[in-house]
Each structure stands twice: as C-alpha cells, then as structure tokens.
Symmetry: C2
Subunit: 148 residues, 2 copies
Amino acid sequence: MSAADAEEVEKANTAFYEAMEQGDFEGLSELWLDEDISCVHPGWPVLSGRGEVLRSYALIMANTEYIQFFLTDVKAAVAGDTAVVTCTENILSGGPAEESGELGPLVGQLVVATNVFRRTPEGWRIWSHHGSPVLTESDEEDDEDSPS
Amino acid sequence: MSAADAEEVEKANTAFYEAMEQGDFEGLSELWLDEDISCVHPGWPVLSGRGEVLRSYALIMANTEYIQFFLTDVKAAVAGDTAVVTCTENILSGGPAEESGELGPLVGQLVVATNVFRRTPEGWRIWSHHGSPVLTESDEEDDEDSPS
C-alpha cells in the first residue's frame, strides 16, 4: 500500500464530507460509483443502488440547514484497487429554522463511519458508506471481564 | 461479477455468523485478514487491527450465553478480489444467567451490517465489519419532502 494511494483516498473521503457540508448534491452524486453501491446512515436500514442512496441524500440535504463534519481518527487501508477508510465524524448540524431567516437549534452528534472506495479512471469513488451512532464509551480496555 | 464468486462470499459471510453463534473464537479469528482490519459493533467506536478486534469478540463471547442470527436482505457485490456484503442481522441473544444453569433473559435486536471481504489463497476473508442498530422505520419512501 503506497502512501500516495492512501493520500488520494483520504482526499476522496474529505471531498465526500465537503460535498455534504456544502449541500452539493451533484458533487456528492459524482463521488459515488455507478453500480452496486450501499449506504447506511446512522440508525437507518441499508439503502442499495444509486436510486435509493442518492434519494436519501437529497432528503437529508433538504432537511439540513447547516452541517459541519470534524473528522478525527481517519485511517485508510488500501489493497489494490479498493480502500477502506474509517473515521469518526464529529457532527454539528442544524435543521431548517421554524421561522425563516434563522437557523434551527444546533445539534452535536458522534458518528463512526466505514467508507469503502474503488479506484476508477476518474479517481477513487465511493462503493459503500456505513455510519453509526456511538452509544457507549470507548475506554473499556481495562475491563478484566475477558475470558482467561 | 460471477455468480460463483457471490456464492463463495455469501458462504464466508454465513460462516462469520455461525462462528459467533457457536462461540468458536478460533474459527472466527481465522476468518479475519491478518492486516488492516477494522470493526464496529453496534453503538461502539471503531476498533482497528487484530488485537483490538479479536479482543472485542473474546469479550462479547464471554458475556453471551446464547446468540442466534437470522440473516435477511443479504446482498453481495463482488469487484475483482474484494466484496461488499450488506445484510440485516435479526439477533436473538441472552447473557449469562444470574443463577447458574439458566439462561439470562433473551433480547431481540435489529442490526444492519456492511461486511467487506478480500479474496485470499485460503478463501474470502473479512477486511471490515460494521454493524449498527436500526433506530428508525424504513418506510419513508413515500415521503414527499425531497427537494424539487
């Protein structure tokens, strides 16, 4: 796995979240592969195929006035023409205002994502996105409840 | 994508859940790739590398007296030497009994998973598993709230 590959994949991963932040539906659509894609938004069932997946993003964008992703723990693993990126999405978002002209209340959310990319002639494209809410603390490593 | 490939990948996916059901830690360990693996259990943060991932399974197995997965909506997409499988895990599980000899209370859980596999000389092996709780209904397709 070359460092250049990992860098390119991380750029595609960043572009994915930037398209969301900018409400750039067309840019987002272009980042997804044409076939066999799947997507899980936090708490949602699996969406399959461009129709279902892109419709979900149109719906989310329509209901999101403001969204910002602070990505942490970004890790890219590349094998041949496929890459798996995991990251933590520290999300700050707001829905449409009740009265026009003002933002709705801002909500913070902690989500972890596994994003799978494939190399194409046009660059790395998203094959699968799976995001899920983090419900528990991660500091259970000292737990002595493991089998002997 | 050949039908034979998809069939082999689905078999590896089934073997993954069977190892969990049987509490077969060694069998489960062998199904994972050696390097660059990642795993997200429902509600958990990302775990990376064999150490963290396998320790989590040891912990889960130690705290699970009984677990059964009824898989539905299994879809496999194969591209070259990589495959993405999505499925719904209808889980029935029970923790250790309070008093020895009896099962703890059984709990039903609805989880969706994205499992990424890579082809190896020994067969398809798990590169990434991401499972997350389904918190909302999926029947929002009639929603007319999409942008015009």
